[in-house]
């Protein structure tokens, strides 16, 4: 049988695995606004939305990486590894709190909420303003298996309104 025909079941298997490396970005449980885009406050109806703000902390940075690997052995069978890892962006984020917030292996948006809480400090006048969101990923076919990789990076800053 030609080699290409041996690859067909593998390709079908790979198709079935599509979507196994996906990442979700959400901060739905955060108590602070996490703003995306140039309009950062809800203006009074009919008024402009410009409010004076100043930076209130170090740059906000969040990186998360998802990996799915399927390895097959000779004659069938195989092993699967799937994980989502949020990378700490400063040394203060390597303690037990961070570990507790990043226990889920597959998908855990709580990492992002935890990060927002730490950055904004739960102050009602603080908010996170996202400047850039970058994402990407690859699917790879190797002699010994398949790999699906995805990563996202969010950068921004914590701001606080200037007292008027």
């Amino acid at each position: 049988m030609p080699r290409f025909l041996h690859l067909t079941p593998v390709t079908l298997l790979a198709l079935a695995l599509s979507g196994c490396a996906g990442l979700t970005l959400t901060a739905r449980n955060s108590v602070d606004p996490v703003m995306f885009g140039p309009v950062t406050t809800l203006p009074a109806k009919g008024a402009a939305g410009a409010v004076a703000v100043r930076p209130a902390g170090p740059p906000f940075e969040y990186r998360v990486r998802g990996t799915g690997i399927l390895v097959w052995g000779v004659g069938g069978g195989g092993g699967e590894i799937a994980s989502v890892v949020a990378e700490p962006s400063d040394p203060a984020e390597t303690g037990p709190e961070w570990e507790a917030a990043s226990t889920s292996r597959v998908e855990n948006p709580a990492w992002f909420d935890w990060k927002v809480l730490r950055a904004a400090g739960g102050r009602s006048t603080s908010r996170v303003e996202i400047a850039t969101v970058r994402c990407g990923g690859e699917n790879a076919f190797f002699l010994f298996g398949l790999a699906a990789l995805a990563d996202c990076e969010i950068r921004g800053m914590v701001t606080r309104e200037v007292q008027r």
Binding site: S18, G22, T26, V31, C135, E138
Partner: protein, 148 residues
């Protein structure tokens, strides 16, 4: 083991490998409304307005964008969400978006070996964007107006 054998082995492994993907930057530079990943936005005076309290939902949206990459995922594009989100907010006569959610996934076409061994084969990433369009409750509008 000679260098030649190692080189041949490496070449053989490369010949039996393929990879495709894409990278992209998400842009919202043209957004005309406040958009929040969380369930809260600030009003013009810096007061937090929460979904379910001062903000009421008037609609929800979901849409997808696809980013294409070449050279095994090295090249990238910009995905602009501004027009889509502005259109959704206008459609529901809303004032803002909360609970913004982005999910990025690899396209199934990026699995199609041996096509993915070709550097010009297009890999891609799907981005699913969802959110809740909100407007202020009447009580919140009155509270905002009374303080000015």
């Amino acid at each position: 083991v000679s260098v030649r054998c190692v080189t041949l082995l490496f070449g053989a492994l490369l010949a039996l490998s393929g990879c495709a993907g894409a990278h992209y930057r998400v842009s919202g530079d043209g957004l005309g409304y406040p958009v929040s990943f969380s369930r809260v936005v600030h009003d013009a005076d810096g007061r937090p307005l929460f979904l379910g309290e001062a903000l009421e939902p008037v609609g929800q949206f979901v849409f997808r964008k696809t980013s294409v990459g070449f050279l095994y995922g090295v090249t990238g594009t910009t995905v602009d969400l501004s027009d889509d989100i502005n259109r959704e907010v206008a459609r529901f006569h809303g004032e803002a978006v909360v609970s913004l959610r982005m999910r990025t996934e690899n396209c199934s076409t990026s699995w199609l070996f041996p096509l993915t061994a070709l550097p010009f084969y297009p890999g891609c990433q799907n981005l699913a964007v969802s959110g809740t369009v909100v407007t202020r409750t009447r009580a919140a509008e009155r509270a905002g107006g009374s303080q000015r």
